[in-house]
């Protein structure tokens, strides 16, 4: 197996995620982009685990999923309150604080 293809794929996913964070306005989509970056990391972990022939990477992937789930809980709660206040989930709207 040539692991480099997986690594490249994971790098592409990470980049797409990062670009998504920069370009999308919808907070939910931005958040999904972040999740994509986390999953890109997961893919890399699993690939490397396979490459090195140990299980650490795979175990880490599970932990990351759990952390990501916790993050979703917190994130959605925050986005919800903002939505209820502003009736919008655009992340450009809350920009009262600057300079």
């Amino acid at each position: 197996m040539d692991p480099s293809a997986y690594i490249i794929l994971s790098a592409i996913l990470f980049t797409i995620g990062a670009i998504g964070v920069l370009l999308r306005r919808n907070a939910i989509v931005v958040f999904m982009s972040v999740e994509m970056m986390l999953n890109a990391a997961n893919l890399a972990f699993v690939t490397f685990a396979r490459m090195h022939g140990n299980l650490e990477g795979q175990v880490i992937a599970f932990f990351v999923m759990i952390v990501a789930a916790a993050e979703v809980v917190v994130g959605l709660a925050i986005i919800m309150t903002i939505f209820r206040t502003r009736r919008s989930v655009s992340i450009d709207d809350p920009s009262l604080m600057r300079n």
């Binding site: 970056m37 986390l38 952390v67 604080m97």
Partner: protein
């Protein structure tokens, strides 16, 4: 019946882990308290539990002093730096908890929203406030955050470090959004902090993945061995280091990863801001030091140039923009950014002296920061806290003691002799210069001279400006806030005059276990 082979139980060092277990365990119990205890007694139970957990944790840390070992199969370290900084975190947490329980400065309750879920300006919110509801979920969140910090700075592999990072951060994202007043700003702060924090975590995690790819392990010791036995794959290594550092730079608020800090500091409830500025800084630098010293210390010459750039940017940008701020919380945010720049000198030096100097610096900075924010809480107008610098005009005339206390904190930030901040800065700069970064120290001295101006500006505003209108309105705090301010003041002055005892402790704790 064939006798089965005895199962090898992993050896868990309960005593060494006890501080973290106590804090996180108490947090879990507090969640149950939220569910089952009656509303009337909830708050007192939560506060009692929180203080009990923190005090017990601190006691165990003291008992553990001198421990120097890896625990839970090498995942975490209990050594001098971990214990020293855990102690600093717990002390900070105690002081912050006192600020959190303050109910006298705001006529309608504490610093937190009656119901964070209620829409700002809605009838619901008005009702909740009128009934005097107090949100008690802040206490378990606060303890989780504290436990996360302790875990973060003693983690000895990348996985546990990531988990510590998240346990520390997630509760903070929520706490940031819970200010009683100016709900819109608070929610905005929470969202910015959360999205950018998650973004930075992703970088950290991807960096961890690359390091794992390079070393085949995530434990710091294993990485260090792989780094020393350099192979041709060091592209992965450097990429990994850069991405890990992005995550860490974000947490410590180094330029150009700092931009969340002023907004989040401004919008969050002030006790939470204090905790972000003090506790997070200690924990993140503790973890950062361990990461760079233990895992990548052998490769220091490779990553150091990146730190030069970031450190120089950080202390200069922090000092310069701080000069142009008119909001006290934003100004303190830039102050904390500038301090992060100075502390990066300690991270990149990779010498035991720099480590102990950084730890001392962190301790003094954290305590003075909590004290300063404690005073910020007291300057108010009808709509709650007022953080505009105009509100501080003439404070020295109307409230000389308060203004003097704030001045001492500011002088400590500025590194004026006879304050703890001076000793911290001096030892840090001296150790950094001894590590061969003399020119960087020179730049840092210039930056701290610039930064001194914005601290002195506040002093001038307090003592020599004529008050606007009837002068600043200052709330009279309860014993809790008073205790925080007084303790912070005493520590700042005493460590300025007689630093040797604490410096000795830091000096004896200047080696990471591997």
């Amino acid at each position: 019946m064939t006798p089965s082979a005895p199962v090898a139980f992993p050896d868990i060092q309960w005593l060494q882990l006890a501080p973290i277990i106590v804090v996180l365990g108490a947090a879990a119990i507090e969640v149950l308290v939220e569910a089952f205890a009656p509303r009337t007694s909830r708050r007192s139970i939560q506060i009692g539990l929180t203080f009990a957990a923190l005090i017990v944790a601190f006691a165990i840390i003291v008992i553990n002093a001198g421990t120097f070992q890896l625990v839970v199969a090498g995942s975490a370290a209990v050594d001098g730096p971990a214990l020293f900084l855990q102690g600093a975190v717990v002390l900070t947490a105690l002081l912050v908890a006192l600020l959190m329980m303050e109910r006298k400065v705001d006529p309608s309750g504490d610093a937190f929203a009656a119901r964070a879920s209620a829409m700002p300006g809605s009838e619901d919110e008005r009702q909740f406030t009128a009934r005097g509801y107090l949100q008690t979920e802040i206490w378990p969140l606060f303890l989780f955050c504290t436990g996360g910090m302790m875990l973060f700075l003693s983690a000895n592999d990348l996985l546990l470090m990531f988990i510590g990072l998240e346990i520390m951060s997630l509760p903070l994202y929520l706490l940031a959004g819970m200010a009683r007043r100016r709900r819109l700003l608070s929610q905005e702060a929470a969202m910015k902090y959360f999205l950018l924090g998650a973004f930075s975590s992703a970088f950290f995690l991807y960096g961890a993945a690359l390091i794992y790819g390079f070393a085949g392990t995530v434990s710091f010791g294993g990485i260090a061995d792989a780094v020393v036995g350099q192979s041709q794959m060091s592209g992965l290594l450097l990429g990994g280091i850069v991405l890990l550092c992005v995550g860490m730079f974000f947490k410590v608020a180094a330029v150009p990863f700092h931009e969340w800090a002023p907004d989040v500091y401004q919008g969050s409830p002030t006790p939470v801001t204090a905790y972000m500025a003090a506790g997070v800084k200690v924990a993140a630098f503790g973890a950062f030091l361990r990461l760079m010293y233990v895992a990548f210390g052998g490769e220091a010459w490779e990553w150091r140039p990146a730190f030069w750039v970031v450190a120089i940017l950080t202390f200069f940008v922090g000092a310069m923009i701080g000069l142009a701020q008119s909001d006290i919380k934003r100004m303190l945010a830039y102050s904390s950014i500038a301090h992060a720049g100075f502390l990066l000198l300690g991270v990149m030096a990779v010498t035991p002296d720099s480590l102990s100097a950084s730890m001392f610096y962190l301790l003094t900075y954290a305590i003075a920061t909590v004290g300063a924010f404690g005073i910020v809480m007291l300057i108010r107008d009808d709509s709650g806290e007022t953080t505009s610098l105009d509100a501080w005009r003439g404070l020295g005339r109307t409230h000389p003691l308060l203004a003097t206390a704030f001045t001492i904190f500011l002088l400590s930030f500025a590194g004026i002799p006879l304050t703890a901040g001076f000793i911290g800065k001096f030892t840090l700069f001296a150790s950094s210069a001894a590590a061969g970064e003399g020119w960087l120290v020179l730049l840092a001295v210039i930056a701290s001279a610039i930064a001194a101006f914005f601290y002195l500006r506040v002093v001038v505003i307090m003592f020599f400006s004529d008050p606007v209108g009837s002068g600043p309105s200052v709330a009279t705090p309860s014993w809790a806030t008073q205790t925080t301010i007084v303790v912070a003041l005493i520590v700042t002055v005493v460590l300025g005059l007689f630093p040797q005892a604490v410096l000795n402790i830091a000096d004896h704790a200047d080696v990471f276990v591997r």
